[in-house]
Symmetry: C2
Subunit: 289 residues, 2 copies
């Protein structure tokens, strides 16, 4: 059995003094012109520009981060060309010593979740797994999550289950009050705890109140904390996530890092500078926790 996601995260965090995850949400309309050189405007060309851009960002931020999160939606916009680009970007990030999180928010009935688990978390023929972790959606219940847990037990991966998300509409279902007075997301949190240690939780950094409560309900789970930066989440509010130590959470920022500048020749430096700044801010929170 491979070492667990948590063990690898603990080691990387200690080595780099970082809990930073850089979100690769490639938005072509925000790319510097130079990545489009010679690629044209068809899906294959857009996918090539995405790949160049993301490789450039990974190169720039690798020293400051412990993980990257590939937002599959943006890659899928370029169809199968985009998914091929995501596969190559993930492989490059792993070579650079980063944990790779596929942010796909997948899940289906059990026999279909099996296929998603095989696609993203299991070793592929002649290749390692697509990713070290996958984000998954709990609406279909425990039997839809089990295949991901099984795959993670076998290959040392992690399933980050959506618990309390960073968007305003996240409250619509997640904050519904149950007849026992608790919230839907708290029920999901208990389900996640039952899958420890192969399940983590997505807790939006825009929901500081939820971070503390989530830590009570899931004492050991690794939290993926997106929404810092462009979405308004504050790093300082995330301290409860790190009560169990540095492997308690990954502070994830996307737009504010990768699209810090769209100037030719400057965008990588700007991304590196923002990643360095966030790394320090997040590590201060870890040390204070």
């Amino acid at each position: 059995v491979a070492s667990s996601f948590r063990e690898r995260l603990e080691q990387l965090a200690a080595e780099r003094k970082s809990v930073l995850c850089v979100g690769l949400d490639p938005r072509p309309e925000l790319f510097p012109d130079e990545v489009f050189h010679g690629v044209g405007d068809r899906p294959a060309g857009v996918a090539r520009a995405m790949e160049r851009f993301c490789i450039g960002i990974v190169d720039a931020v690798a020293a400051h981060a412990v993980a990257v999160k590939l937002q599959l939606a943006f890659f899928e916009q370029a169809g199968h060309h985009g998914l091929a680009a995501a596969e190559r970007v993930g492989a490059f990030a792993r070579e650079r010593g980063l944990l790779v999180i596929a942010d796909g928010k997948r899940a289906d009935i059990g026999s279909t979740s099996d296929a998603y688990a095989a696609a993203y978390l299991a070793p592929r023929r002649h290749a390692p797994p697509f990713a070290d972790a996958l984000t998954v959606n709990p609406y279909l219940g425990a039997d839809s999550l089990e295949p991901f847990a099984d795959a993670c037990r076998a290959s040392g991966g992690l399933a980050f289950v959506l618990v309390r998300t960073s968007n305003p509409g996240g409250a619509d279902i997640q904050e519904l009050e149950l007849e026992d007075g608790s919230r839907v997301w708290e029920h999901v949190a208990r389900m996640v705890a039952s899958f420890a240690p192969v399940a983590g939780a997505v807790i939006g950094a825009t929901q500081p109140g939820a971070v503390r409560r989530a830590r009570e309900l899931m004492p050991e789970a690794t939290f993926l904390l997106p929404g810092v930066g462009a979405q308004g989440g504050e790093v300082a509010a995330l301290a409860p996530a790190f009560a169990p130590g540095p492997a308690g959470g990954l502070v994830s920022a996307s737009r504010s890092v990768i699209h810090a500048s769209r100037d030719n020749g400057r965008w990588q430096g700007a991304a590196a500078a923002e990643a360095a700044r966030l790394r320090e801010a997040a590590w201060a929170v870890v040390e204070s926790a």
Copy 2:
């Protein structure tokens, strides 16, 4: 504006006397040997076998069905090669006059759902949309669904929102009792109704009690009714879905049709026969409703 999904479904259902949707969940371990001829066992070869198999199935069932549902998970198992196969299978099904449903159960925060909507529901550069409809997951709330609704308004598509799913674990979250005595899935159903006419609902055919209640809560929505056949759902129990007419629902079967036989030379005929049988059974229910 293109004609709506519902209008196209009404027309096709009337022409073919069918509300059958064939689920393309390609499981290579159940393929007849002949589709593997010369493809090898790497992802590109597996994807080619999937494509051959699915094209063969579409060819066999096109006269009996009004729609096919591509289960993206199985295609994604073969990585970007698999997604390319799905794109070609979808295009072929559309040429054969079928509605194409991408069963991806996608959704994310709004700006990311925009990307999924662009990937699966919006016209692509030099190509029509990947699909006429996409299945989406409601856990992230209304603002995660709006981008799909917007794309559907523009291109005549439909977002099938997961409401009450066919798997046993579907009850874990969906049947939680809220403080007002209703269930989580009923709340989701009301949200779906608020997105009419561009949102439909996934209601598992294994949950006959839910079908009637769902129809009360969503008087006009088109239901996608998976779980007939291998999962044990009974067609006769689906009558309430068709109260508004034939466009009230799509009866979806996957394994029992596409994997009816794995014998070389016989699998297409077996799939056609099972599709014809189900078409008739489902149409009898439509006429009795």
